[in-house]
């Protein structure tokens, strides 16, 4: 479920409370909680922070500090499907920069840079959700964007 911008604060609060309840007994529960909020809501809404802080006996500043540290945790929901494109050395060596413009110029998707998907002998590579793509040439890039942008 992706809760879009403007979803009811009560709905967010209920969703977050359920996630917190799943994890709060664990040691070091904060990152698993935030990862689940990100996965289920598509971002970590500002309204989630006080709920998480209260449950884990942390200050809001501490929770905010963690949210702002990790690249995966977003403050806003994405407005387009996200394609994570690897721009690290091994994919660069296999021509990632030559296909990057195909992704960057396309209004149907949002491109995020990632550094390494572990597909370093199969690049250029990308990830959409949990799906991975390798050996991306121009034709594969167009197909990928077409599918992701739908």
């Amino acid at each position: 479920m992706i809760v879009q911008k403007g979803s009811e604060p009560e709905a967010v609060a209920r969703g977050v409370a359920a996630i917190v309840a799943r994890h709060e007994a664990r040691e070091g529960a904060l990152l698993p909680i935030l990862n689940d909020i990100q996965a289920e809501l598509g971002h970590v809404p500002a309204g989630a922070i006080p709920i998480v802080a209260e449950a884990l006996n942390l200050s809001r500043a501490e929770v905010h500090g963690v949210v702002s540290f990790y690249h995966d945790l977003k403050r806003e929901p994405p407005d387009r499907p996200v394609v994570k494109l690897c721009r690290a050395e091994a994919c660069q060596a296999r021509g990632a920069e030559r296909i990057a413009h195909l992704f960057e110029g396309d209004p149907r998707i949002a491109v995020e840079t990632v550094f390494c998907l572990g597909l370093c002998a199969s690049g250029p590579s990308a990830m959409v959700g949990d799906r991975v793509f390798g050996r991306i040439d121009e034709a594969r890039a167009r197909r990928l964007i077409e599918e992701a942008g739908r």
Binding site: A29, L31, D72
Partner: protein
Amino acid sequence: MRVYLPCDAAACAVGADEVAAELAAQARACGIEIEIVRTGSRGLFELEPLLEIDTPEGRIGYARLDPDAIASWLSAILDGAQHSSAVGRVEDLPYLKRQTRLTFARCGITDPQSIADYRAHGGLVGLERAIALGPAGIVQQVVDSGLRGRGGAGFPTGIKWKTVLDTPGARKFVVCNADEGDSGTFADRMLMEGDPFVIIEGMAIAGLAVGATRGYIYIRSEYPHAIRAMRRAIETARLHDLLGPSLLGSRHAFDMEVRVGAGAYVCGEETSLLESIEGRRGEVRAKPPLPAHSGLFGMPTAVNNVLSLAAVPFILAEGAAAYADFGMGRSRGTMPIQLAGNIRNGGLFETGFGITLGELVEDIGGGTLSGRPVRAVQVGGPLGAYFPPAMFHLPFDYESFTEAGGLIGHAGITVFDDSVDMARMARFAMQFCAAESCGKCTPCRIGSVRGFELLDRIVAGDGVGADLALLEALCETMKYGSLCALGGFTPYPVMSALRYFPEDFAPARRAEPVQ
């Protein structure tokens, strides 16, 4: 009919799942029974998706299949005819034949989620032996094997375990570092997907050795396949007493869980990783205290890389000497080397230490994929040095690379052809460091930004003569002033690029338009 097809992410990225689905559909349509066993990858990624079929002569491979080729493949198999994708007996492929697979012995061969397969291929013998030996005996075996940290630092694993064993603590932990963020490396990912039980067995042995009953494996979020594979394998392991209150029926307990990262490269640094598990920003801790004395939740903790832990079951099962027999000098055993980037035969190549860089890149790797001459190789990930072919005589071992001003790191080798612009690669190193710095220490946080700006000027052709001297001084500061390897080793790619490829930094060259 039984066929084998990898479920490795690198095979799925080029269509393995689609091949499996098409094969199942066609088999149903023809009314034939085909059992598709999803294995790990053999590690020769150019051949993926590599389908293998059981025959009396062994497993025959069919390379680079796509769903459109399945119909013709199936009719060829049923007719006993040749298919154009055939590569012969997989074990006879020179790339595989030349390897010494100790850690990756099962990867690509067994069903990674089958504990019966695991046991049938030599699994659990190490743990049985470890239970009989006891903590001091296990530590001694690991010390004698000469095993050093495969994450990159190369610290002797046995000494680390002895330190944790000898440190009193109310609780102790084993933490497996699977935050494999270095570009050019994928061995941890392959093993988590292709033979997860060997990592679990290694962790259980580590737990016995140091007196820990709880373990964590911290996996980066960019590895969803590995996360799923490890979680599933952990549940299976509990059902078979490879984890739980009574390891293989003994009085020893050990259990573990997966923790998932959130896209921070620096969390591969061990103290930052511990902070992250504890639920904080992944900021590096100052050492001392070492994690072995005061690690996770302030308790004595053995933090080991996936490959270090996965080497341990072999060492316990076959004895320290069997492992130490391989290698050279103070680098004992085998190293799962990863050939990456612009290389023809990219993939995993496990071999004893001592093979030269040139053999790896040219003979085994087959040179560049583009067919152009090799110009540079980066060894050891984003924090490793760039070397020109003139350095291909270097033997692959910890000391030789340190002496040559580099590091082997997690043993990734990224190959570049002659179209590479080394000033841009140096700039990228600083850019990467700036993007991934945890921000705790100034040389890394500020130095990387200033380094990027400097190199950006040089790349743009606006550099002045003093810029290179300034860059060198900055690199010195980062190298000696940073808290961890991120800021401390970023100078390696930068300075090696400058040392071996000075022409790319010359203002005269930079003034030319870039094609």
